[in-house]
């Protein structure tokens, strides 16, 4: 499955890029599983997701839980809790 990943704020800074397209291996079904896989893709990913519980996710621009299925996702974003307003 090919998917566009986007990173914002300190998640972007730690990973060192704003977005990328990745071919995910079969067997990754949820956001939490995707995070576990990403953590193994290099020290910058491991650092960005070191405290994975504080990182928020969105699929196709809608907030989702870590348990959410990534099936059919075109765009998955990871970011810290929001601080606008």
């Amino acid at each position: 499955m090919r998917v566009k990943l986007m990173y914002f704020a300190w998640v972007r800074e730690k990973i060192g890029r704003a977005e990328e397209e990745l071919e995910l291996p079969a067997g990754i079904a949820t956001v939490a599983e995707l995070i576990d896989w990403l953590k193994q893709q290099g020290p910058q990913y491991a650092e960005a997701f070191r405290r994975a519980e504080v990182v928020r996710a969105a699929i196709n621009q809608t907030h989702v839980q870590p348990s959410a299925s990534i099936a059919g996702a075109a765009e998955i974003a990871f970011f810290p809790p929001v601080t606008g307003g």
Partner: protein, 155 residues
């Protein structure tokens, strides 16, 4: 709604929203400004980043929800992004209704929801030159709890 690097004029925005209408009896405008201090730290400036596309979707969603809950004649959200300095405007929420209660409550609802769900992030630069991402406040999520809708990311 509008995401903009440029400043906004509160009076002009209200005039545009209510101009030519005779059904509006109450307008509430909330403006959020940048302070020069945050948790005891002296702040020189800040940059606001957002998630283009998702931001618009989230703000449209919350505006639709506000219109569903209260009899609003009109509403507007303007949020700035880019580089800001202390004293600058950050965000504007305007609600217009026949009567004041709906306008007051909807404005507060829009701000509470925006604070916890709209994908904006602030990075502050201190007077000492040190830059740091602003942490989310627990109190903002508590404020949202009043409206009986949990933040989406917590389900």
């Amino acid at each position: 709604m509008r995401i903009d690097t440029a400043d906004f004029d509160v009076g002009a925005e209200i005039a545009r929203l209510t101009g030519g209408r005779t059904d509006v009896g109450a307008v509430v405008a909330f403006t959020g400004l940048m302070r020069a201090d945050n948790d005891g730290r002296a702040i020189a400036g800040m940059t606001l980043e957002h998630y283009p596309g998702m931001t618009e979707r989230e703000l449209a969603r919350v505006e639709a929800e506000a219109h569903r809950r209260w009899p609003l004649a009109a509403s507007l959200i303007v949020h700035r992004v880019g580089t800001l300095k202390p004293g600058d405007n950050i965000v504007l929420v305007v609600t217009a209704s026949k009567h004041r209660q709906a306008a007051f409550q909807a404005a507060e609802f829009l701000m509470d929801y925006l604070k916890t769900n709209a994908p904006f992030w602030k990075k502050e630069v201190g007077r000492d030159g040190h830059a740091a991402w602003v942490d989310a406040r627990i109190s903002d999520e508590a404020a949202l709890g009043r409206w009986q809708i949990p933040p989406d990311h917590r389900g």
